[in-house]
């Protein structure tokens, strides 16, 4: 029975076994010392796991690249033709440029980014098979989802902030930090403009929560990350299309994307909160529904991946 061939690595393995300590006594609750289910998978660790991914780095990189690309495109503009949309006013100031960038990103780019972070988070673990080891660790299922949700939320928020900050800083360099002009002929200066930009970022974040919830629900329902991300984006687009159909009348108020541009209300004085409140509520309702379903589903699911 003794091995004929000796392999160094195998030897080392056997060697280690000679010095293994005896089992450590367990705690009163019968668990290994130091184990606490509510401290498993800390946010820091999960952030580290996600930031190591090329996907995350690319998205954040793109958030910086987009304003640069836009600025180059605007450089072809021969001058101020006096238009009165956000886009026409992009080169008025740093804040105007940041607003224009958000205007271009709000309906699609940010939806994709949020779908990516939330839709991929559980499904990719399932596709790598690492999900079962996390759950057997055990990270309680509810806690696992919660940590995943929090981290995906932090990353989405980071992307949004990076996009806005990059656009603002680039705008400040190119167009100066003057007052922001709005399509309604108002202008805001200094901290007032920055504060409004902050409100817009906050509202964009809230209005995208429903996408997050949807992508998250799909993420726990499939082992294919692409399916979860793509599904959430498709449904967001469907909602946007339906919102364009006048025949639907008041029903459109219930579409989660109906208030996706309500943030422009922060660009009048006094701030027009009504649609932002309605949009925030609608988005949050959908988010709570979808996320609740995701938790319910995942806590009952058989993990076969």
């Amino acid at each position: 029975m003794s091995p004929v061939h000796h392999d160094q690595s195998a030897d080392a393995a056997v060697q280690v076994m000679r010095s293994l300590p005896p089992p450590k006594p367990v705690t009163d609750s019968g668990l290994p010392p130091g184990f606490n289910a509510s401290r498993t998978l800390p946010v820091r660790v999960e952030l580290g796991r996600q930031f190591g991914r090329r996907r995350t780095q690319l998205v954040l990189g793109f958030m910086v690249a987009l304003p640069i690309i836009l600025a180059i495109a605007f450089a072809f503009d021969t001058g101020d033709d006096g238009g009165t949309s956000f886009v026409d006013m992009a080169q008025h100031s740093a804040t105007n440029f940041a607003l224009t960038t958000q205007f271009f990103s709000a309906t699609f780019l940010l939806v994709v980014v949020v779908s990516l972070f939330f839709g991929d988070t559980v499904a990719s673990e399932a596709s790598w098979s690492s999900l079962r080891y996390l759950l057997a660790m055990p990270v309680p299922r509810i806690r696992l989802l919660r940590q995943k949700f929090v981290v995906a939320g932090l990353m989405s928020l980071l992307a949004l902030v990076v996009l806005t900050a990059a656009a603002w800083i680039l705008g400040a360099v190119l167009y100066g930090t003057g007052s922001v002009s709005t399509p309604t002929g108002e202008s805001f200066t200094g901290w007032g403009a920055i504060g409004r930009l902050g409100i817009i970022v906050l509202y964009l974040a809230v209005s995208l929560i429903w996408v997050a919830g949807l992508a998250f629900l799909l993420s726990v329902s499939t082992d294919a990350p692409l399916g979860a991300v793509g599904g959430a984006v498709l449904l967001a687009i469907l909602s946007q299309i339906l919102d364009q159909i006048d025949a639907l009348g008041g029903i459109r108020d219930w579409l989660p994307t109906h208030y996706s541009f309500a943030w422009t209300g922060a660009m009048v004085d006094p701030i027009r909160w009504d649609d932002m409140v309605r949009g925030g509520f609608s988005s949050l309702c959908y988010a709570v529904l979808f996320t609740g379903l995701a938790f319910w589903r995942f806590s009952r699911k058989d993990i076969t991946s």
Partner: protein, 1002 residues
Amino acid sequence: MRALLGSRLRRWTALVVAVLIVAAAAVIFWPRSTETPVATRDLTLPGAKAPWDAAPVQLDSTLYLPTATPAPAVILAHGFGGSKASVVDDAQRLARAGFVVLAYSARGFGNSTGTISLDSLDAEIPDARALVDYLATLPEVRQDKPGDPRVGVTGGSYGGALSLMLAGTDPRIDAVVPVITWNSLQAALFPNSAEVGATGQGSDGAAGPKTPAEVTAGADGVFKKYWTASLVSSVVLGGALGNTAQVDVGPGGIGGGSQGGSGAATTGDPNGGDSGTGAATVPSDRDPGCGRLRLEVCAAYARAADTGRIDDALTKLLTRSSPSEVAGAITAPTLLVQGEQDTLFPLDQADANARAIAANGTTVAVDWYRGGHDGGAPDPETEDRITGWLQHYLAGTGPVPSAAFRYSVDGGVTDNGRPRTRVLQADAYPGIAGAPAVRRTAVQLQGADQLVLNPAGGTPAAISSLPGLSQASGGLSSLLTSALPGQSATFSSAPFDRLAVVTGSARVRVTVSALPSVTTTAGSAQAATGPVLFAAIGSRNSAGTVTMGRSAVAPIRLPASAAEGDTTVTVDLPAVALQVAAGDQLIVRFTTTDQAYAGPTSAAAYRISGVTSVSVPEANGVRVSAGEVPIGTLIALIALAVLATVGLWIAGRLRHRPRPAPQAAAASGEAGPDGGPDAAADGTPDPAELDAPVLPLTIRNLSKSYPGGVHAVQDVSFEVRPGQVLGLLGPNGAGKTTTLRMVMGLIRPSSGEIAVFGTNVGPGAEILSRIGSFVEGSGFLPHLSGTANLLNYWRATGRPMADAHLDDVLAIAGLGTAVRRRVKTYSQGMRQRLAIAQAMLGLPDLLLLDEPTNGLDPPQIHAMREVLRRYAGTGRTVLVSSHLLSEVEQTCSHVVVINQGRTIAAGRVSELIATSGEMSFTVDDPPAAAAVLTAIDGVGEIEVLGDTLQVDLGRTSPAAAIAALVAANIAVSSAAPRNRLEDVFLDLVGATGTGPQQGDPA
């Protein structure tokens, strides 16, 4: 099975219930498109016989009956260009509110006979009185006394004037609600807001009329040609003018029916198919082109359109069509509803009506809603006010209607292109019925003397309004507020230091100086017409955006003498409800042209000067409309956000409550399938078992079925004792992996129990922290290195790094420097070794390994066996699953055999082999050997195959058997247990087909 079906059924039931709930909610909350129909009766009623009529006209009418009669009646009159069909929605609404509603087509409209006389006191008004006579005969109508029914009258525009004039000529009327209508048709169609001379009143300081919107009605007004032409052509040409015809019908009923839009209402052209108007659409040679318009009216209009001036004949006609003639006689409580977006019948018309009616001591209330001929039908709140007014004064139900003055104000245009609108309310309409006069403030204006030109031909002309279209303009609004260069003079105030709402007509004094121009030097007709200017009021915000008050202009015609020298006039600016926010400027603008009016066509130039102060009326109403922010939604939003946050916070702290297995104690005390002799026979001391008689793993009657009746595991029971290396043996698909997944809490068992160290296991059970597992392949983040993966794994457990024994497990993995490469570059075997290392992180008390040697090299397989044996030797426990018999035989001390989801055998490997007792001997003399062995007591069947004997030794030890053979001089060249585990396994697997076997072969 039943339970599984049950769970499946439950899932479907839940789905169906959810769908039903959503469907029910949709049914309940879906906007109602149709309401219960109202009983109606179509009638043709005789009207009056006007002086020019040969016989009384026949009025096509419809009676709408409420559910309970007798009830008070309401006569519902339609707007110009409409018919009884255009008020159906309003009629039904009023009938549902409990009124008998009589809707009819006025003479000349719809299927009624006669010609249109513009609500003449000689024609249309007597018609309406005839209708009151008819109502007095109806049993369904409540009667005050014989011949005097309880009746109110309402209508929009054309119907509104009819309401007022009927109430002014028939004392039987008990309540009146005229909507967007006129007081003096002459003042409305030929307005002139200028009063020549320095009367002193309002010229400076804050003097002015007591009511908000009293406007000078100067003689020889400027013809409102665009509106008038639209209206006339709608009845002369019928549908031929399509859109134009519909524009004016706004006031189809109380403002135009349900469609909300500007009058337009008439979508489906209420006249469509009506033979009456239809007949007029094709002019014949005998037809003077007047359609159903009364010839006198038609002719007078034609003259006015030709000259742009009003003549005596037209003045006389229009006077007979004006409520101003009879308003003083109205005794019925009157609610005057006027539109703020109305360039046809502006707010000053309602003001004049209110003054005239209140002078008689009659109850009057005034309501300015955000709409009108340019802006649409009354909003629901205003409709409610109308209904409440009628209900109280006719039916005697409901509270006493408020006499408050309600008006709507637009704030600045917001990002969504719509202005912020709010409704303000003052206690009463200022200046009437003893209410205090409107507050007027003098606002200083700045602006140098400015030159304005009237271009020859009067074109290009400024476009201040598009009749009936202003509200739809959207993108046009900027066009409407811009004046043409050279044609306007603007005077502005200093920025306001507070928010002000101009409520009514501001008054300003202006000096107009005629300058020499081509025409005057040529001595043309300009002198005869007198200079015409258009005055407007607006606000300008700090960014320079100008908002003109509802796009309205007040035309002023100066006397002919003003064509030379300086003329000072007092001008009443258009009545508006205009907000001037703090920091905004009030502006007053004079222009020489306006598309909507018949201004002079001769070229002229004027100097505008002396505009120093404007007297601004304010009603100081308080806001009654709800705030912009939906408070309920806001509260719900905050509550939901808090709830979601708390939910997430709690979710991070929820943990699986450890639950001691009910049978754990019993299980540990009870001897296993071959538990009794186990520890002692093994000879190795088992400290864990001595200290804590808790089994690392107990599985009882475990089963797992999937929807569709697939039974992955049917009945698995076994125990794992401390220090064992237990092999879970079974062919592929036997249920080994599913069992391990259930142990790991990944899959919920359908039934049965799993206890780990005495604690029941479910998803996320904390006791799982004592298990290290490797099941069905590795699970690594491919973008991280081997070390990073292990580190991340350990950090995710939240346990101290010192407990990880990372170096030890890395040594066991034996990956060398490869651990620093990203895992995606690993071979299958490397991943396998890393995964086993991960399972060993923290040196768990129970190690679950699923096919651990798959993909390993022979030396590594060998080392792995050694590692596992030694691992168990430290007092820990190892459970290895495999489908390879040799694997189990060589690695494990104990084995559990499962097949088709059932445990079929369990025990010590050596015993399982030995208990069969079958030996195989190779001898030189098989028959002799057989004889020898048969002689031994207890030896069973013997089979001879060539020179090999297959013997069932029973209790006899092989040594004794060999000794016996040797003693009988039989040469034994080999002796071996015949049934190795493979044979046992095959026997057992083969046997399971015949029926369930509880795995105790002993």
